[in-house]
């Protein structure tokens, strides 16, 4: 066979298109980041370069990337909803709503006015206003990294994002529905109202119920959990589209609905972020870049539009940010941070612009002008955030809710199911995360360690806890747990079992950075079937923690389980778990549950001097009734 007989073909087909796409995803962001430009701009530029208006590496009319980009758009909106910190919205409800309305209203008014001034029809002008009024928390990681997550102004802006993006997407749904609907306006509006009712029912009742059941039933099968998350936003998007509402609205609502089931710090969120960051969202941004056309972008008309959009958006956001001085008592630096957080235009803006383009409401000039706006808004906000983040006084550390990050330190397997179940319930109340650390002594061989890890992982899977347990070789269980709690920034530590050091849990209680509950007992039943009783709810810090734990796990949520309170753990019957605050070393070390019962003890007011030395354990006395 001669070399001349070999005929090479020009690269084409799906493999070629995906190769080109992923080269842009790999190379685009780092290249522009060298010039201190946000990575997403690199993806947009990369999309332009490979597209029909650039080097034409993708075949004319190819739909591979645009269609994958549509999935990326839904994913982006789902992530926007699921990542929002609803706890912050709840804590700073009033200021978040006030700021949310202002930071929406000013750009909305200015954007709509700009559209009307340009002679646009009202729907196009309103859509422009709403897309300028939304914002994406691109710079939140930067601000959070500076220790400002608990600053009241920062928290209000984060909470306000729920409001601005929801209103913007509702306006988008109404405008897109009335523009592309085939019936009269009243019919379309009725269809939209019914659609939002159906979407609300599906997203906020059906979806969390199904997801919770599926998560429980399927345990921590990682791929399954992830696919359930994907299916949830696709379901919401389909429901939305059935009623003529844009799919992105459904995806965003699904994100809000799944918010509590997908803790921001949890493994599932990491997976969602990973695949979103690696594939789906970059693909969407590259697909938007395909629309970039320099011959349109650098026309006087486009640049003029971009200038006007920038003024309306940044001007409106600036006025709203300055209003935090009045309504929130912010200083200049805090107002600057509010501006930096609420100005960047990305997710909702791109989504609304793409939809506006697809339904023929926006032309290419507007799309290109919005892309210029996105670039400028991100750049300006980054500069302001960099300038002001170090000028804001660090806020005091906020008290964590008990269930935000629960550490289960397991010293022996017998009590592990009870501890894990308790952790799961407490964390679920706060959409929190469960970390599991299994402690083994130094004599344990590598093979045994692996077997222990498999065993505790199996327990977590069986109980539907999405976590990655770790094994730590320990010579001092209390110290090991304190180190783990410190590094994980735990909000509650459950010390499970007696372990190698008698009294390790008591030792832990006086040095732990977070409240400690000592879990004892071999009861292994669903907590719904366990009679949880409060033992002596004292008016102390420990009593408060005890009351919260009982409320978390009791079936009727009020802590008394509908039964008279018991005054001693000796009265616990099979299948019952007692929760109590204790203040004496004796009662703590002597409290031991009977067969098929459980005890959760929260040490209170134990001074270090009273800590029994691990090497010289306190002699056990006779059992003393608590209370």
């Amino acid at each position: 066979m001669s070399v001349a007989a070999i005929s090479l073909q020009a690269p084409e087909g799906s493999a070629w298109e995906f190769l080109v796409l992923f080269l842009v995803v790999i190379l685009g962001p780092p290249l522009v980041q060298r010039a201190r430009i946000p990575g997403l701009i690199g993806l947009l530029i990369g999309g332009f370069l490979i597209g029909p208006n650039g080097l034409g590496l993708l075949p004319e009319g190819s739909k591979t990337i645009p269609e994958l980009g549509q999935l990326g758009l839904l994913y982006l909106m789902f992530v926007a909803g699921v990542e929002l910190d609803l706890k912050l919205l709840d804590r700073h409800r009033r200021s978040a709503i006030s700021f949310g309305l202002l930071t929406f209203a000013f750009p909305m008014a200015l954007g709509t006015a700009a559209g009307m001034l340009l002679g646009w029809e009202l729907p196009a002008a309103l859509l422009l206003g709403s897309l300028l009024a939304s914002h994406t928390l691109i710079l939140y990681p930067l601000v959070r990294g500076a220790g400002l997550a608990n600053d009241p102004v920062v928290a209000s802006v984060v909470g306000a994002t729920v409001l601005t993006d929801t209103i913007a997407l509702v306006i988008l749904a109404i405008i897109a529905g009335t523009q592309s609907g085939t019936g009269g306006t009243s019919d379309v509006l009725l269809e939209l109202v019914l659609g939002f009712i159906a979407l609300g029912l599906v997203c906020f009742l059906v979806l969390p119920f199904l997801a919770r059941r599926a998560f429980r039933a399927l345990g921590t099968e990682r791929t399954v959990r992830y696919v359930i998350a994907i299916a949830s936003f696709l379901l919401a998007a389909v429901v939305a589209e059935t009623f003529g509402i844009e799919g992105i609205v459904g995806a965003f609502f699904a994100g809000l609905a799944m918010n509590r089931l997908v803790p921001n710090e949890g493994p599932l969120m990491s997976r969602i972020d990973f695949f979103g960051g690696a594939v789906f969202i970059p693909v969407f941004l590259v697909s938007v870049g395909l629309l970039l056309d320099p011959s349109v972008m650098f026309q006087l008309e486009t640049l003029g539009l971009a200038g006007l959009f920038i003024v309306a958006c940044l001007g409106g956001k600036f006025i709203a940010a300055q209003s935090t001085r009045l309504i929130l008592g912010a200083n200049g630096a805090q107002a600057g941070i509010a501006f930096a957080l609420s100005t960047p235009q990305a997710a909702a803006t791109l989504a609304a612009t793409t939809v506006g383009f697809e339904i023929g409401l926006f032309g290419e000039s507007v799309v290109n002008a919005v892309l210029v706006l996105i670039l400028v808004s991100v750049l300006v906000a980054t500069l302001v955030a960099e300038r002001d983040k170090d000028r804001v006084t660090l806020p005091p550390q906020a008290r964590k809710e008990l269930g935000e990050r629960v550490l289960v330190a397991v010293a022996d397997f017998a009590s592990a199911p009870l501890g894990l179940r308790l952790a799961r319930e407490v964390a679920a109340r706060e959409a929190g995360v469960v970390d599991v650390v299994l402690m083994v002594d130094t004599a344990t061989s590598g093979h045994e360690r692996q077997a222990d890890l498999d065993r505790i992982s199996g327990m977590c899977r069986r109980l539907g806890i999405d976590t990655d347990p770790s094994v730590r070789t320990s010579v001092h269980d209390a110290r090991t747990t304190v180190l783990a709690a410190n590094s994980l920034e735990s909000s509650l530590v459950l010390a499970v079992g007696s372990g190698i050091d008698d009294g390790w849990a008591e030792d832990l209680a006086v040095s732990s950075p977070a409240p400690v509950a000592i879990v004892r007992g071999s009861v292994d039943r669903p907590l719904g079937e366990v009679q949880v009783v409060a033992l002596d709810p004292r008016v102390t810090a420990a009593g408060t923690v005890a009351a919260e734990l009982v409320a978390a796990v009791s079936r009727d949520g009020d802590g008394d389980g509908g039964r008279p309170q018991l005054d001693s753990h000796h009265a616990l019957g099979p299948g019952e778990v007692g929760v109590a605050g204790v203040s004496g070393w004796d009662e703590l070390s002597e409290a031991s549950p009977g067969a098929e019962t459980g005890l959760v003890l929260i040490p209170d007011q134990l001074l270090p001097v009273e800590v029994p030395e691990p090497s010289v354990p306190e002699p056990h006395g006779t059992a003393a009734a608590m209370g």
């Binding site: 340009l118 646009w120 422009l128 006007l308 697809e358 290419e364």
Partner: protein
């Protein structure tokens, strides 16, 4: 940061920069301005009429058709009162000779060569190439197809598709006029002709002696073509996207081609070419 007063000033300045604000010919819509060749008239170029299902009637007296009614709807969306139809051979149209028309709508697929002489809008149909045969003719596989005599339109993308994907034994017959191409199949000079699936369906609806025996797996986008460098592309493209979004294109397809565009894709057997 700009102050509120500065913003007001800039908005006022914008009113001066963009004369559309005062009702002139600048930016008057969010989708760009359409400037017709003839005042208040949309001038549309297409192949010699009639083209079954797409352009019915005569040039002087068009009576309907998928693309014709799209043109009428387009004119309404662009606030134009009238539609004027002009015709030219397909090869002339794709060579960029639009004869002074605002745009051409004639089942044109954008290609790199055509893009040199024309500007294309967003595609309004994606259609698979379909094989049109006499009723009763079967083409179960590509080997059978290779033994048949093909007919294709001159300068259409089907010439390339037939040569590269089907690779028939005999050189395809080329026709300037699609009605002659159809007649060639009917009178037996050709065994099979290639058309876009919606066009083939309209032909079959019109003449029950013909049938669609298969389609290829690839699809061809079909778009409106405007003169190279036209400033009207954005306005026409936006209007076409709006027609797609509000269901106009689908309802016109059902009306004139007998089926919705999305449904038709699924009802015809696929011919695997191995390419």
């Amino acid at each position: 940061m700009p102050s509120g007063r500065a913003i007001t000033g800039i908005l006022v300045l914008a009113a001066l920069v963009f004369p559309g604000c005062s009702g002139g010919d600048g930016i008057s819509s969010s989708t760009g301005t359409f400037e017709p060749v003839r005042a208040d008239t949309l001038t549309v170029m297409t192949q010699p009429m009639p083209t079954a299902g797409f352009w019915e009637g005569t040039r002087e007296n068009p009576t309907g058709g998928f693309e014709y009614e799209m043109a009428v709807d387009l004119a309404e969306r662009l606030d134009l009162g009238d539609v004027e139809v002009r015709t030219a051979p397909f090869s002339a149209i794709v060579a960029g000779r639009l004869g002074g028309a605002d745009l051409a709508m004639s089942l044109i697929t954008p290609t790199a060569d055509r893009d040199q002489v024309l500007d294309f809008t967003t595609p309004y149909i994606d259609a698979a190439p379909a094989l049109l045969v006499r009723e009763g003719t079967e083409i179960p596989d590509v080997h059978t197809a290779q033994e048949m005599q093909f007919a294709v339109g001159s300068d259409t993308t089907f010439e390339t598709i037939v040569k590269e994907d089907i690779r028939p034994d005999a050189e395809p017959l080329r026709f300037e006029n699609r009605n002659r191409e159809i007649r060639a199949v009917l009178d037996g000079r050709a065994d099979v002709a290639m058309f876009d699936l919606p066009a083939a369906e309209a032909i079959v609806n019109d003449d029950d002696r013909l049938a669609i025996t298969a389609k290829l797996s690839s699809t061809e986008p079909i778009a409106a073509a405007l003169p190279d460098g036209s400033t009207n592309v954005d306005a026409v493209g936006s209007a076409l996207r709006a027609m797609e979004a509000d269901g106009t294109i689908d309802s016109l397809s059902e009306k004139w081609l007998g089926t919705s565009i999305t449904d038709s894709e699924n009802s015809v057997p696929l011919l695997r070419t191995g390419s």
